[in-house]
């Protein structure tokens, strides 16, 4: 039997990643008295923790490693293996605990994938609808980018100048140019003051945006006394009063073991592309026999991510003693992320983020003398060109709930993912193009391969669409046929494009907050309504 919370919040937000925290911040900044309950299944990982930092440096161990799915918690059951480990952080801050901070806009054609190719889905909004929100997101995340770039239309330059190409990028830049690929500078959300938290997996310096830092500010702000975070609190069910009206969310307090129902005027599910559809599927009731928003049986379907293509080359000498001095890529290209490539699957090219790399400390630990270390550092070197390849959503590629629960009290997951022969052929053609880059560098090709897709950039599982027959949420991210249930995760993306999804999610979050603020002005919120 669930216990009942004592008040009715203005909003309940499920999930504390970049989407949930961004929406909460906007709502609170608009009206400080807004009451918000944020539920997070995972734990709060201490940041600015010196021990965590030193363990990261000396042991290559992050304080959130234990939150990743194990293979039996998110099982791959399709012909193409779906990677699990290292993909999803289940903790306060969500994916921003471990992301690389690559912050790229989608392109206009990405919003009309089905219209252009007959595959995947169309967005119910256009690039132009999102352009201003993209810029707001770039300011919010402090994105460092090249103001001269024109990969996606933009009305304003990037808010912060770009990271420059490293010396080790040079040979690949010139090879790109020889084969007609325009080199670009990677837009990165890496401007913040470095807190050396032990959570910056990819960050030698140029500290990346973390939603936890924003959340901490919100929780410490006295004016926002109506904002409350509950961690270790997996949401298990959404309770509907009628087909259209949601009244409560039920969650488990993992500290006490109690099941608790909390009530609100509005509900925003921001728990990622896995947990968002699963929560809706698990919320069957007299009004929604297949789960909320699932009358058309679309929840969990059309799952996509990025498959990574890799071509590695080697050269016998590293005279310049190059290594990738940043632990993130500075060289990229979107030449083949174009409307012309959309049918065969666009690719977003970049240089491997860690190569060339010599682990000097390991050589010393292994007992190599100074002379031996010197020789190895100037010896054989490897570089790798990589790409994310766009995948297109298919009805039969789907995420489902499996019997049982994980360590956080969330239902287990299965992923069924398959590719067509044509898609495999397209991947090989893209690898040929990338191989030509390595050949132009004068390097020996070590391998060219397609990696399995994984949970890193999952999209499509509760996609937005104009009608309930085509999607779960509408253009305002409200679940079709409901009045007060919103979804904001990468799961709502009808297409995944070839680039990382976080900037687009941040832009959608700001847009949703604006929509809610518009609604709030017309509603009866902020009256400190006691639950009757």
């Amino acid at each position: 039997m669930a216990s009942r919370g004592k008040k009715k919040y203005d909003y309940i937000i499920v999930g504390s990643g970049v989407a949930g925290i961004t929406i909460a911040k906007k709502l609170l900044e608009n009206e400080a008295k807004t009451t918000i309950l944020m539920l997070e299944a995972g734990p709060f990982i201490p940041a600015k923790d010196r021990r965590s930092w030193w363990d990261y440096v000396t042991l290559d161990r992050t304080p959130y490693d234990f939150t990743y799915d194990s293979g039996d918690e998110a099982k791959s059951i399709g012909k193409v293996n779906w990677l699990t480990n290292g993909a999803r952080v289940k903790a306060v801050g969500g994916s921003t605990m471990h992301w690389g901070a690559w912050a790229l806009r989608f392109k206009p054609e990405d919003f009309q994938l089905y219209t252009n190719t007959g595959e995947g889905g169309d967005w119910p909004i256009t690039y132009d609808d999102l352009e201003d929100y993209y810029y707001q997101a770039e300011e919010y995340l402090s994105v460092c980018g090249d103001e001269t770039e024109n990969w996606s239309p933009r009305k304003k330059p990037y808010p912060v100048p770009p990271f420059q190409w490293t010396a080790a990028d040079g040979v690949m830049i010139e090879a790109f140019q020889k084969v007609g690929i325009k080199p670009g500078k990677m837009p990165l959300a890496r401007y913040r003051k470095c807190f050396t938290t032990g959570t910056c997996k990819y960050c030698p310096f140029g500290s990346r945006f973390s939603a936890v830092n924003v959340l901490t500010d919100l929780l410490e702000e006295p004016r926002y006394s109506g904002f409350e975070l509950r961690s270790n609190a997996p949401a298990v069910r959404i309770i509907a009063q009628s087909k259209a009206n949601i009244e409560a969310v039920e969650y488990i307090d993992n500290k006490s073991g109690r099941t608790i129902q909390e009530h609100a005027h509005n509900f925003i599910i921001c728990s990622g592309a896995y947990e968002t559809p699963k929560l809706l599927m698990n919320s069957k009731n007299q009004f929604w026999s297949r789960g909320i928003g699932n009358d058309a049986d679309l929840l969990g379907r059309f799952i996509i991510s990025h498959s990574m293509l890799k071509v590695r080359g080697s050269t016998p000498e590293n005279k310049e003693r190059w290594f990738q001095e940043y632990d993130f890529p500075t060289l990229m290209s979107r030449t083949h992320d174009s409307p012309e490539r959309q049918k065969m699957g666009k690719i977003f090219l970049f240089k491997n983020r860690v190569l060339p790399n010599i682990n000097i400390a390991k050589l010393m630990i292994d007992g190599k003398t100074p002379e031996e270390v010197d020789k190895i550092v100037g010896g054989p070197m490897q570089l790798e060109v990589q790409a994310f390849m766009e995948e297109k959503g298919k009805f039969d590629n789907r995420l489902q709930i499996a019997a049982g629960f994980d360590r956080f009290g969330l239902p287990l997951t299965t992923i069924n993912f398959n590719r067509t022969d044509a898609e495999e052929a397209n991947a090989r053609e893209n690898l040929n193009l990338m191989t030509e880059v390595i050949v132009q560098m004068g390097y020996k090709v070590e391998y060219a391969r397609t990696e399995d897709p994984g949970a890193h950039h999952t999209t499509g599982t509760c996609r937005m669409a104009k009608t309930a027959q085509d999607g779960v949420a509408d253009a305002d991210l409200k679940v079709h046929e409901t009045n007060n249930l919103y979804l904001c995760s990468t799961g709502v993306f009808p297409s995944g494009s070839a680039v990382n999804p976080t900037l687009t999610l941040a832009a959608l979050s700001i847009r949703l907050a604006d929509h809610l603020i518009g609604n709030t002005a017309k509603s009866s919120l902020h009256k400190e309504e006691a639950f009757a």
């Binding site: 030193w54 000396t58 010396a167 040079g170 040979v171 010139e174 470095c194 310096f205 290594f323 630990i365």
Partner: protein, 169 residues
């Protein structure tokens, strides 16, 4: 394997329990001399590592003051290194760093514990904290050097005007 009775004493392969213990000033200074020897052996530091001492002390405080504490491992390393010095004199550190004959696998002797939990971590910290510079490069994973808007570039940047792949050294 090198060393004598102390070095070769069998112990559990798991981390030695030291929660609640404090590291004495004398042991800390002894370990600092071990750390300095790393730089002397690989000749990859300046100023006899003195510019790294505050950072090193901060690591020791973080590693020994919070559970699981490294204090027992640090105390063990002091005993191990002292025995090596007693046995080999000036050659002790060359043997410890370059010629220790510790078998691969989990650390089941005091010497192997000292190497895994103390020496190896000191080496990683030393390389990260600036030891990498001797081998090339301006930056390295884990190396934190303030704002990237310094006048001097923090990495070797691509300079296309001066030729293919030329970079500042």
């Amino acid at each position: 394997m090198i060393g004598g009775i102390v070095c070769n004493e069998t112990v559990d392969s798991g981390m030695l329990v030291g929660d609640g213990q404090l590291l004495s000033h004398a042991d800390r200074e002894f370990l600092w001399r071990v750390f300095v020897k790393i730089g002397e052996t690989w000749r990859n530091v300046r100023y006899e590592s003195s510019n790294l001492k505050s950072s090193w002390l901060e690591m020791l405080a973080a590693k020994s003051g919070v559970a699981p504490s490294y204090t027992a491992e640090y105390v063990n390393a002091v005993r191990v290194v002292q025995e090596l010095i007693d046995m080999y004199g000036d050659d002790a550190f060359r043997k410890l760093f370059l010629d220790n004959h510790i078998p691969p696998g989990p650390p089941v002797t005091r010497l192997a514990h000292a190497k895994k939990y103390v020496i190896n971590e000191f080496i990683i910290m030393q390389v990260m904290a600036s030891g990498f510079k001797h081998f090339g490069g301006k930056n390295y994973a884990g190396y934190v050097k303030g704002s990237r808007y310094n006048e001097v570039p923090l990495v070797r940047e691509y300079r296309p005007i001066t030729g293919m792949g030329a970079g500042e050294k």
